[in-house]
Each structure stands twice: as C-alpha cells, then as structure tokens.
C-alpha cells in the first residue's frame, strides 16, 4: 500500500515537489527517532513532507483528514515518541520551520518547531538572557520539549516546561488553527492563559500528548536573566564544558550522612529561596562520569568493583549558586547554604566552576554509556513522594535481579523544581539487550505498586491507573473523539 496518488500530488502542490518524498530510502530513514523504546514497532511512513509555514501544515492536515491518512510529526528527530505506528502515515517533518524571535525587554522568545535549544541559547547569551537546556540535549526542539516535558535542573529556580509556555499557535487534528493566550486576540505571545478557561490544559498534562491532538507550530516561551559575559568553552567535542565566572557562580558538592538530613536540607534551601540548581547525585552518575572513554565494557568492569563501594549510606547533593544581578548575592547565598549544610550535619566541598549539562548539554543521556537496555521509572511529585517511591522501586528491583543488572540501588535521582514545590524522581534500571523482557516485567510490577500505594507516575498505563485515577481515560477519549474525529493525529 502507498499514499493515494491524488493525495500525494496535493501534498506536492502544498509544499512544492522538492519538499515531499515517498522514496523508500528516505522514508526508511524517517522511520526511527533517537530516544524511542527500541521494542516499539515503528513503521516506515508512506511519505515524508517538510512544510515551511503554519499555512502549509494546516493544508497538509486537511489533506490527511480528506483521505483519512494518519500523520505523525517530528521536528528534530531527537524525540521520544513521534514515529509512525500505522501504515501509510504522512511524516510531517517541521525542521524547516525554524524562525526565532526574541523580545529581550520582556524576556520571552517566539519559536517555531525547528528551533533547537542550542540555537535559542546562542542568541539569548548575546542578550544576557538564557533558557534551559533539557536533559536530552541542546539539539532537541524547544517547542517539542517544552510542550512535552521541559525538564532541566535549573527548573529549581525557573520551573518546569508547562510554566514556561506562553502563547501557542496550534493546528488542531482537523486543520483548524487554535491560538491561545495573548495570541488569541492580542496577536502577541507574552501571556499564556485563557481567555477564560485555559486550553493549555488540552496541550499537556503531566507530560504532553505527543501530537495526538494536532501540531504545535509556534509558541512563546519564557527566558531568563543571565550574565552578560560570554562563557568560555573548554575541552574538545564532545568532552566540552563551559567555564562559569567565579564571581557569579559556585558549585558545591555536599555530603550528608542520613537520608533525613539531605531531604530536610533540600526543604530548607527551598524555604531560603536560594540556588539555581539543587539535586541529589546518584552514585552511578559518578560511575558513568568516571568511565568516559572506556566504553560500555569498560564501564561494567569498573562498576563491578566500584559499585559496592559507592553504595554507601552517605548521600550527595549538588548545588549551583548563582549571584543573579550581583556578586554580593552570590556571597549571601553561599553563606546561607553553608549554614544549612552545618545545621544538617553535611560537609560541603566546592566543585569546579563549570557547566556541562545546564546551559549547553551536548552530552546528555549518560545512560547510553552503559549499553544494553535501560528503563526508568519517573515521577514528578513531592520530595517526600520521591523518597518513599524510590524505596518501593528498590524493593521491587531486588526481586527482578538477575537478569536486571546490579546497580546496587544507586541510581535513584531526586531533582526538585520551583524551590522544592515539586520534584522529579528517576530510578534507572539496566539489563542486557536480550533481557529487555525483564525490564518490562519490572515496570509492570512498579506500576501495580504505584497504583496501590497512591504514587503519581509520569507516564501512566491507563489500564492500570485509569480505574483508580478518576477514570481519566474516558475524558481523554471524549476529547480525542471531539477534536480528531477521523483519528488521524498520531494514532496508535
């Protein structure tokens, strides 16, 4: 089967024949994206098309509806779920839509889906502003990442993705254009809510809908004050880092000797409203960092010996202080941090004043270093839930080991945001490629316990969580039926 000839010709007429292809080689290349679960079935799209404007996206979506052809969307291919699951899908590749405007004075940017964090960050730095660079790397699309998750450690001060989202331009599944926030009638992107009920509630919940409800073509996104000095890069790709000016930044690695102390210290840092980044450091992160350059085999050789030693009772916290606006502020924040460390029996050590992951993040996804397969259980809830939930996950993992590899329960990561109002917990588990089934079984067991114990998971399995979470899938189904009656927007 292939895309009907008439539909294909119409698509050609929309974008020009050079921007659409049904060449099997090209479509095969567009079958995959970088971060997806390797066990998910991915189909070769029927054609791949590259629009250059919202009008073209709208026209393509209308063709998809007319011919009942499923469509799926990507912008940088550095994505987690946007691949064709149905035959004859139109893959809409938005990388040509890469316009970027910055309102320096009012601290927001207007971006199209092809704009990467690296591109945005480079322009912002010139203005003494900055954005986040997410954990998945600077090559991710700002639009896709912000509407889907938008998570990065400097969210400690600046919040999560849903809070950075301002006005939105959205091509709905039938091709209608929805303009939200101030774009709806002020023709500007500076404010996100409303008018009236805030339809950004359709755009994303705990995470985004991954183009199941159409295509976002432009967003306004908040940006933040930064130093005006140019950051000096150091090292060579991909082991590069940015040197941070020491009069404005300080990294601290802080060791605590009880879990209670590290948790209470995080709460207190939040109450004192200091720091740009606050997060725990799972020992395996250190193992991965120390194994750079030795490959997957080298990591496991190292880990066999180092893992048990790193799995100690001590817990480490990493804090980045930032003297926003003045050196004196940095001095103040440092004094407050050291007071807190003392009160909670910790020991603080200043770390090199450089950054690899928060402002540039070219080498994220360290988990890839360890090879094989990995699965992670992620939740965004309170610091307290993170603590309780990770303990449960550890217990469950022990029952699945082997074949789940021995990480000595050293992977549980707590990364709080918004000064501690909410926190990410991520528990990473690993297995050899042929043992992927064990990770899936582990995940199912975790879900059952999560549902029973009232924990909040990031990506819920609706069969497990729907009945105990207010039957939310019923509402999702109704919304989807109302907005996508032909079921063409990234159908599963």
């Amino acid at each position: 089967m292939s895309i009907p000839k008439e539909a294909y010709q119409t698509l050609q007429s929309i974008v020009g024949p050079e921007w659409v292809s049904d060449d099997p080689a090209i479509c095969e290349a567009d079958r995959y994206c970088s971060l997806s679960d390797p066990t998910d079935e991915k189909r070769r799209p029927g054609c791949s098309i590259e629009p250059s404007s919202t009008d073209e996206v709208q026209a393509i979506v209308k063709v998809a509806n007319r011919y009942k052809l499923p469509f799926v969307v990507t912008s940088t291919f550095y994505s987690s779920g946007t691949y064709a699951r149905k035959e004859n899908s139109i893959l809409i590749d938005l990388k040509r839509m890469n316009k970027l405007e910055i309102d320096e004075k009012n601290q927001y940017a207007i971006v199209e889906p092809g704009v990467t964090f690296s591109a945005l960050q480079a322009d912002l730095f010139k203005m003494g502003l900055c954005t986040f660079v997410p954990g998945c790397g600077g090559q991710a699309s700002v639009v896709a990442n912000t509407v889907n998750m938008g998570d990065a450690p400097i969210g400690w001060r600046h919040g999560l993705g849903y809070q950075r989202l301002l006005g939105v331009e959205w091509v709905l599944p039938e091709g209608d254009i929805l303009k939200m926030g101030s774009l709806s009638n002020a023709n500007d992107f500076f404010w996100g809510e409303g008018p009236g009920p805030d339809l950004r509630g359709l755009l994303r919940g705990c995470a985004g809908h991954q183009s199941k409800l159409g295509i976002i073509t432009r967003i306004g996104v908040k940006v933040f004050p930064f130093i005006s000095e140019e950051l000096e890069p150091s090292g060579w790709s991909y082991h590069t880092t940015m040197m941070l000016p020491t009069n404005r930044f300080k990294w601290y690695n802080i060791r605590f000797y009880s879990h209670e102390d590290i948790i209470n210290a995080m709460f207190e840092i939040g109450r004192c409203e200091i720091a740009l980044v606050v997060m725990t450091v799972p020992p395996i992160f250190r193992g991965v960092a120390r194994s750079r350059g030795v490959g997957c085999g080298g990591f496991w050789e190292y880990w066999k010996e180092a893992g048990p030693k790193l799995a100690r009772k001590q817990e480490d916290l990493r804090v980045l202080l930032y003297g926003i606006g003045s050196d004196k502020r940095l001095e103040y924040e440092e004094k407050v941090l050291l007071d807190i460390v003392k009160d909670f029996n910790g020991s603080a050590r200043e770390a090199p004043c450089q950054d690899e992951t928060n402002f540039m993040a070219a080498d994220a996804i360290c988990a890839n270093v360890v090879g094989g397969r990995f699965a992670s259980e992620v939740s965004y809830e309170s610091i307290n839930q993170a603590t309780r939930y990770s303990k449960e996950v550890d217990k469950i993992t022990d029952a699945h080991r082997p074949p789940i590899l021995q990480e000595y329960n050293t992977t549980d990561w707590i990364c709080p945001y918004e000064l501690g109002y909410v926190a990410k917990m991520e528990c990473l588990r690993m297995a050899a490629a042929e043992d992927n089934y064990a990770l899936q079984e582990w995940k199912r067991d975790v879900e059952v316990v999560c549902a029973e114990r009232g924990a909040y998971a990031l990506v819920p399995n609706s069969d497990v969580f729907g009945p105990v979470w207010g039957n939310y899938p019923e509402k999702e189904d109704k919304i989807r039926a109302a907005f996508d009656p032909n079921h063409v927007s990234s159908p599963e």
Binding site: G159, E193, L199, L203, G325, E418, Y421
Partner: protein, 486 residues
C-alpha cells in the same frame, strides 16, 4: 417532588431558600451587570452535598451557579438564566497546611483574612492579590487567576491541584491529587498540577467562572514570610520612568511585593480619615509610586536586604534616580506598616478602599507588556474624558508579573452608585474603554460580562475549541449558563 424539596433533602431546610429577599441579594453584585433572580439558594457543607445538588440540577435541567465569596465584583455569580445559586461559604475549612511543600489546601469559603492568620502561625503567607475584600474567597482569587503581588518565581501559577465536581456529579481530583488515598494515605501529596494523563483539568476549570464545574477544595502555594522587611516608595512624575525602574528591579530578581500605583489608588489605600486624608494625599503624593518590599529571608535576613538594596541603588543610578525613599510624605511609620497591609485582606471595619471615594468602582483590567502601560493609561484617560468622566478620579494599578515579563494593568473608575448620571457615564465608559484596549492589543485573560462577548467574538478558534470541551464536561449546559461564550 419539587426542586426545593429535593434540595432540602440534600442540604437541610435551613440551607435552602427561595425567599424573595434572600434571592434578591444574589441577583446583583458590585458590578454594573444586569441583575437576574435565582430560583433557589442552596448552601452545601461538603463535597457530597455539592455532588448531589449538581446531579439534581443536571437531571432536572436547572442551571447551577457557584459562589464562594461574600462579595462579587464582576457579575460572574449573577444567575443569568436563573436556577440554583450554590453558596459555598459553609465550606470554609483550611484542610491542611503542608509545610514541606509550602502549600495549603482550602475550601471555597476560606477568606484571605482567615488564610493569612493561619499561615502566619507557621511563618508562611498566602500569595494574595492587592488588598482583597475581607469577604473575598481565597479559592476564588486563585481560580479566577487574580494577579499576585509578588512577581517572582512561578507564583503566578499558584493554584496546584483541585477537587472539582463536574456536571455529571463526579468529584474529580486533578493532577497528582487524583491518586487513591489522597491526602492521608497516599505517597503523592498533590503537588503536581499536570494530568492525570495528557490533559490538565485544573487549567480547564481555572478562569471558567463556574462554567466547567464546581471546585470544592484547592491546594495552593504559600511563600515563606520574610523575617524583616524594608519598604521603598520610589516616586515618579511619568509612568514610563516608573516602568523602566520596575524592569530594572525585576531583571535583577530582587524584592518581594512590587507594584506601581498612581496617586489616586495610593491615597485611597493609605487614607485613614476620609475625605481629608484622601484629598491631602492626592495632593502630596507623586503621580506614580513604585512600591518595593525587600524581604529578609529565613536566614541572614539583614544581609539579604543589604544586597537587594545595593541592587536597587545600582538600578536607580543607571536610571539617574537620585533617591530611594523609604517613607511617604505625611505618613510617618507607613514603611513599617505597609508589608503587613499588603499581606492581608482589607480590614473589615474600614470601607473597602476601592469604594471609599465614591461608594462604587468599575475596573477595566487586562494584561499587556509593561512598556505599553503608559500608552494604555493615556488612551483610557482620553476615553474617560470623552465619556464625561473626571480623569483626576481614575485609579491606575500596574502589577508586574513573572519578573516583569508582562503586567496586569488596571484602571479603576470610582462612581456614586446612587447617582444615575454617574452610573450611565461609567457604564458607557466601561464598554468603550474595554473595546479600545482590546483593539490596541490589551489581553483580557479573564473576560467578564460584556467584555467576554467582545473577546470571544475576536477569538473564534478559541471559542470553538472551548465549546467542544464544554460539551464534554457539561453536555446539558447547566453550569453557569449564559457566561463566557456558552
């Protein structure tokens, strides 16, 4: 059985009324909206009773209009199509104070005075709008997205999770409050607003003026209360200059409460003896005042204020502002009093500040970027003058939002509600001012009454999408019909 009997069975005879006198008090509010009588008043005491009333209304096709405050300013609780007014004020408990997560869970009837008294016990404070009326519901302020006085962090999004009763009677908990056993027996603590699943229901309910469901509790953010404060009153002749100062302050991310008031509003807030103080203050105050409260944190409070003051002086020097006054003429000690005033509801015994000058006030407010505040002031003043309104009576309030990324801009037009001519002038002015501001790109994020018609007419795509959502959540259109575009 008649509706009244059924309501009586649900909430008890003492909590149902169809007495004309009682109905009359719910038929109008402090706005210029057209009065409309409800048929019944029901006062539930818990979520189960709310569910039962809504189920009854849905089955009978009778409109339900929730109200939570003892006073209303925008016409959004007037039952446009009659029906049952669900007065939520009996549900007035602070359900829990969550110190770890700096949040508090409140029922609809909790007022700002009640909340601030409770949170102060824990050295915390609720994130409030500018001097709310003592009868104002905390939950309503958050639900209606009223602008908060502290423009930092993500305090603009201060409502986190809610329990909402939809038209089918289901009590649905949003975000991570959806988990079984919440709040006492769950691991989750209800602090993530997203979900469950890929929708954020709480956002669909906020700003909906009761058209999507009835919220029975909300978990909202608190902030640590500063240990000490230093208040600055920076005077300006021109609003543009005041705005530049606020940009500079907010870019440095310093201070707690930060706002701009014109002389009329500041005089109305600070006058103790009326009308003498008010008139005198209007004469001696600068046309515009930037108020900044620098708050000393939980640790080393003096040192925090010191670096903030340094930053403020640096900003002032850049803009050639010679002085940073910490007092106001004729008001000794106000610098010590003001943080407490701003962090509380308006005192019950004093006439509400917005009404003190003439007995009533009609506000026009919207979002814009701060660099346009001066333009809007001039244009709306011109509209007022052309409508026959005395421009010296206009109150202006500019509230920077989110580190100055944008601002809530508000013009208040005080008037005598017993003077027919003044009422007519302000009615006309209100419509003209809104239409003009809208045409110039003012963004009415929460449009009330006639402004909703103007806004949704221009936002056709948005209205169409909202109607689809409304049809799913309230297929019989019983929740506050006749409001927004429903």
């Amino acid at each position: 059985m008649q509706i009244k009997q059924k309501l009586t069975k649900i909430v008890g005879a003492a909590n149902v009324s169809d007495d004309p006198g009682a109905l009359l008090s719910y038929s109008r509010d402090c706005s210029l909206s057209t009065p409309r009588m409800p048929n019944y008043i029901a006062r539930p005491k818990n979520t189960e009773e709310v569910q039962a009333v809504i189920k009854l209304a849905n089955e009978s096709g009778v409109p339900v209009v929730p109200c939570s405050s003892g006073i209303h300013f925008y016409g959004n609780t007037i039952p446009n199509m009659g029906g049952i007014v669900l007065d939520m004020r009996r549900m007035n408990k602070i359900l829990d104070v969550d110190l770890d997560n700096k949040m508090v869970r409140v029922e609809p009837g909790v007022t700002w005075g009640q909340l601030q008294a409770e949170t102060a016990k824990y050295k915390m404070m609720g994130l409030g709008p500018l001097l709310p009326h003592p009868l104002k519901s905390v939950l309503t302020s958050h639900l209606e997205r009223e602008p908060m006085l502290i423009p930092k962090f993500e305090y603009a999004g201060s409502m986190v999770t809610v329990e909402v009763v939809f038209a089918d009677g289901q009590a649905f908990r949003t975000g991570s409050a959806c988990v079984p056993g919440f709040p006492d027996k769950s691991m989750a603590e209800g602090v993530n607003p997203g979900g469950p699943g890929y929708l954020s229901y709480q956002w669909l309910v906020q700003g909906a003026q009761g058209t999507m469901g009835v919220v029975t509790w909300a978990k909202v953010k608190m902030a640590p209360k500063p240990r000490i404060d230093k208040t600055f009153f920076i005077p300006f002749e021109q609003l543009d200059d005041a705005v530049q100062m606020v940009y500079s302050i907010q870019r440095r991310m310093i201070g707690e409460e930060c706002l701009i008031l014109n002389d009329v509003n500041l005089a109305a807030i600070l006058a103790k003896k009326w009308p003498a103080d008010y008139e005198n203050l209007k004469r001696v105050l600068a046309p515009w005042t930037v108020i900044l409260v620098s708050g000393g944190g939980w640790r080393r409070p003096e040192e925090k204020i010191e670096y903030e003051e340094d930053g403020l002086r640096e900003a002032a020097a850049e803009l050639h502002i010679p002085e940073l006054p910490t007092s106001l003429p004729g008001l000794p000690g106000i610098e010590r009093e003001l943080p407490g005033i701003l962090r509380n509801a308006w005192p019950e015994k004093k006439p509400y500040w917005k009404f003190a000058a003439k007995g009533a006030s009609q506000d026009v407010f919207f979002y814009t970027t701060m660099d346009r505040a001066s333009e809007f002031t001039q244009v709306l003043s011109q509209v007022a003058a052309e409508s026959g309104y005395c421009i010296d009576d206009i109150g202006v309030y500019v509230q920077p939002m989110e580190y100055g990324r944008s601002c809530h801009f508000e013009c208040s037009f005080p008037y005598n509600p017993n003077n027919g001519d003044e009422v007519a002038i302000v009615s006309n002015l209100y419509a003209e001012a809104a239409e003009t501001a809208l045409g110039l790109g003012g963004y009415f994020s929460r449009p009330y009454g006639i402004i909703a018609d103007m806004v949704y007419e221009r936002a056709g795509g948005y209205s169409a999408a909202m109607k689809k959502v409304k049809k799913i959540l309230d297929p019989n259109n019983i929740m506050s019909p006749g409001r927004l575009c429903f």
